[in-house]
């Protein structure tokens, strides 16, 4: 048995909060800066967190950088996504963007019925970031112990992006 101080891996800390999503399942992935990080310079992976059954392209496209991808859309403004039934209640998020980049994602609605739902709700936002972190890091294929990945959150987010034209 050995003991060691708990150290956060700085490699990953720097890119926490950066999301890569492919909203429509086609076209270039967008780089989405979450509300904790203002830069996407650490992201060099085109892997998406797309839903559904369609094949996802490999995460090891060496030539692609996500940082400046949303060229055509210089969207600014905010939009509220659909309320999505996430089994324990409805999930709805509001997205704010500036110059084609997401600057903030807030939860408008999260399930808060019984104790379990409360617990899940509290995990939803952090877990989404975690999932994004896992998806955009070229070196990590999954995260052990990150259980409450939110399908509803992601769906609502994508509908908000569509409304924004992103």
């Amino acid at each position: 048995m050995k003991r060691a101080p708990l150290v956060t891996l700085s490699t990953f800390a720097g890119v926490a909060g950066v999301l890569l999503l492919n909203p429509s399942g086609a076209g270039s992935p967008l780089a989405l800066a979450g509300n904790t990080t203002g830069t996407t310079s650490g992201a060099t992976n085109t892997s998406s967190t797309s839903t559904g059954t369609s094949p996802t392209t490999s995460g090891s496209n060496p030539g692609a950088t996500a940082a400046a991808t949303p060229t055509a859309t210089a969207t600014s403004g905010s939009a509220t996504g659909d309320a999505v039934d996430a089994r324990y209640g409805y999930v709805q998020v509001k997205v704010t963007a500036k110059n084609g980049k997401i600057t903030d994602i807030t939860a408008v609605q999260l399930p808060n019925g019984d104790g379990r739902s409360m617990m899940i709700s509290q995990q939803v936002e952090p877990m989404l970031k975690e999932q994004a972190l896992a998806a955009q890091s070229a070196n990590i294929q999954g995260v052990s112990g990150a259980s409450y990945t939110s399908y509803g959150y992601q769906q609502s987010l994508q509908s908000a992006l569509t409304k924004l034209g992103m």
Partner: protein, 248 residues
């Protein structure tokens, strides 16, 4: 043609991610295999969900049926649970849960093991099944490269505390962050560990061991280190205590 296929199955109120690589196999029967895995996961939900009033587990919990009236799958889970109670000296005890027998702490991993078996039967060698944070890992992410799996940081939800490179094994992490701060062990003692991660042969055992090690804390290493081939790590405040080859 992509050399990777990712499927997300929304089940159990969460997501199971299936990530298959094709450097040693083709895509023959891929759709069929994914369909079979999905059906399996939903079957598990309908049998083992404690949220469904008509699930076998609910009937068991409410005493409407007894443990000797269940099918082979449920009987298998019950016997696996019983074995884990023995191994963990009671730190994992689905019978000590409020509301009656609740094998959720093993079933997620058990379901992942069978899902991995299905993919193997269909001829796939290299894949990861991420059953909401419990992972079954097979083969390689690309030729000669093991899968790199992050471990959820217990205090910082959007970060990982470290990562491990794995092949042909299972990894599970249990944390107080997902169980609420007020949880006490089946013996009524408070839990001091923030999270526990275990790595070993199968996901069902890993799932149960992670929960048990979280509950038992550093004393849990007394029984844990008797398990051949298993590695474990607990985080208590800002200290990481590790045992076994995966954490060397």
């Amino acid at each position: 043609m992509s050399d990777r296929f990712v499927h997300e199955e929304h089940v159990w109120g969460t997501v199971v991610v299936i990530d298959i690589r094709f450097h040693r196999s083709g895509r023959h029967n891929l759709d069929k295999a994914i369909r079979e895995v999905s059906e399996w996961l939903h079957d598990v939900d309908s049998v083992f969900s404690t949220f469904k009033s008509d699930s076998i587990i609910t009937l068991l919990r409410t005493g409407q049926i007894s443990e000797d009236e269940v099918d082979a799958g449920v009987a298998n889970v019950i016997s696996r649970c019983r074995r884990m109670v023995d191994i963990t000296e009671g730190a994992f005890d689905p019978w000590a849960v409020e509301g009656g027998f609740d094998p959720s702490g093993l079933v997620k991993g058990w379901a992942a093991d069978r899902a991995a078996e299905i993919l193997t039967e269909y001829g796939f060698h290299d894949f990861m099944i991420n059953a909401a944070g419990d992972l079954a890992i097979r083969g390689f992410v690309e030729p000669g490269t093991r899968w790199t799996i992050g471990i959820q940081h217990p205090h910082l939800p959007d970060q990982i505390s470290g990562s491990v490179e794995l092949t042909d094994c299972a990894i599970a992490t249990s944390g107080r962050y997902e169980r609420g701060e007020h949880i006490v062990s089946p013996h009524g003692t408070p839990i001091v560990a923030s999270s526990a991660t275990v790595i070993g042969s199968d996901c069902a055992t890993a799932d149960a061991l992670a929960t048990a090690l979280l509950i038992a804390g550093r004393n849990g290493f007394q029984w844990f280190q008797r398990l051949p081939g298993w590695s474990g790590q607990i985080i208590i405040d800002d200290t990481v205590i590790s045992h076994g080859p995966s954490f060397d």
